[in-house]
Amino acid sequence: MRIMEDVEHIEKEMKLIDENGLRLDGRKPEDLRPIKMEVGVLRRADGSAYVEWGGNKVLAAVYGPREAHPRHMQDPTKSLVQCRYNMAPFSVTERKRPGPDRRSVEISKVISEAFDSVIFTEQFPRASVDIFIEILQADAGTRCAGLTAASLALADAGIPMRDLVASCAVGKIGDVICLDLRKEEDNYGDADMPVAMVPRTGEILLLQMDGHLTLMEFDKAFTLVKDAIGRIYEMQKEALRTRYAVTAEEFSDQTENQPYENREVGQ
């Protein structure tokens, strides 16, 4: 029995990490998947962002601060932060039944709580800041991609925050600590740990872990993921700059030539 397990273990490792220490998609353990971020992608929402992260495609939208519903939930001292994380039925290999399941309810809750501490909620008593995260295509690490997108959408909506929130997962394949597992690695890997932080202060806003890590491995994992979060933070700022930075000339063009009423027409 013991031997069988060992054989399985070795097979697994050989498949996920080759003799050069490279992973299935040719990444080194400390490499992230390709990430693309875009801010302001939806018209109706107050703020929105789209993140493509490896095989993940995630949209986030923010509405608010607006009146909190139902009314008995209102807090006279601060606004609520309500997140809804939802997977589209076609986002996964086996069709997911629409609507919230236990997993998405939990993820919605931890993401709401993560943002509650960075948003200046006391400025909006009785209101609610509503965050919607839609997983259009899933390939492991959706809550991190969703959180990263939601953070951009909050900034796009002009919600006052202490800082952006950046998020990434780290895991273990065999006994190698690897950043940002993809689906095959997550299914057969030995640990997975999503983390979200306030990059400026290093506060940890979300931390979950399943699997098995020794103390040393945890240390290594955390160092890796902290560095990755720093990189993601830079990408977030770049995405916001791309959306909002305009040269002085462009700015004066916009304001001079377009009467306010017509600005949105025909764009």
């Binding site: 939806l42 109706r44 039925p89 076609f90 996964v92 295509q137 025909g266």
Partner: protein, 256 residues
């Protein structure tokens, strides 16, 4: 799903259509620019993200094995659902589908089913026991008017690129057998003016709505009238004529 529109806006939009133009610069008979991105979701057997102006809809098709209905033992099954997720509009709320989402899903479903768009007989694996079930899930991402047409264009586009995963049974995957291309076109009546493909503002002040689905032979395959106002017979005929004209352009885009 009521949204507020100010009296001033109402007046402005009406005055524009009365003069033959619209708030987004179109003529009364013009459909907004349509862009289609097929195979958008790799985990779906077929998918499309379509934009009709600023209305943004993502449709995914999942094809799975299941048991046929007892009254059609040798036919596959088509099941259409629509979700008006709260991301898409400040007036959408989470929760089980409400009547407006169900209406959209059913109108799209009817348009596809009644036109015999898919040859469901070719989706039978073992009669009475095993058939392919097509789940068409419509996800509205951004609501700027005319969800009926946007959802139906999305569904048709996704179906045209859907592959039946027969390799699960050791056979070869094959494209979904599509026989017809019904295209729905919606008109809104604002007082006495008829506009094609209403945007959100126009929809908000519309008195009546009429959706007409036509096929490639110019035949009518489905109609659905909505809202409280009424159409005269002449107006219905006019809408059908406009729908036929508009559908050709859209069909060519969906087939491409």
């Amino acid at each position: 799903m009521t949204e507020m529109i100010s009296e001033l806006q109402r007046e402005r939009v009406y005055k524009l259509v009365l003069g033959g133009t619209r708030s987004d610069g179109r003529t009364l008979e013009e459909v907004r620019p349509l862009t289609i991105e097929k195979n958008y979701i790799k985990n779906a057997e077929g998918s499309a993200r379509i934009k009709l102006g600023n209305t943004d809809v993502l449709v995914g098709v999942k094809v799975e094995l299941g048991v046929p209905y007892p009254d059609t033992p040798d036919s596959g099954v088509l099941s259409t659902g629509a979700e008006l997720i709260p991301m898409a509009s400040p007036v959408f709320e989470s929760g089980p589908p409400r009547p407006d989402a169900i209406e959209i899903a059913r109108v799209v479903d009817r348009g596809i089913r009644e036109a015999h768009t898919i040859d469901l007989k070719k989706l039978c694996v073992t009669p009475k026991e095993k058939v392919w079930i097509c789940f068409v899930d419509i996800h509205v991402l951004d609501h700027d008017g005319n969800l009926f047409d946007a959802a139906s264009y999305g569904a048709m586009s996704a179906l045209t690129c859907t592959k039946v995963p027969a390799s699960k049974l050791g056979l070869q995957d094959y494209p979904l057998p599509i026989q017809h291309y019904p295209i729905s076109v919606t008109a809104a009546k604002i007082k006495d003016v008829i506009v094609i493909d209403p945007n959100l503002q126009e929809e908000q002040i519309a008195d009546a709505r009429l959706t007409v689905a036509t096929d490639e032979n110019g035949d009518i395959r489905a109609m659905q009238k909505g809202l409280r106002g009424s159409f005269s017979y002449e107006e219905v005929n006019r809408v059908i004529g406009l729908a036929l004209k508009a559908s050709e352009v859209v069909r060519a885009k969906i087939k491409a």
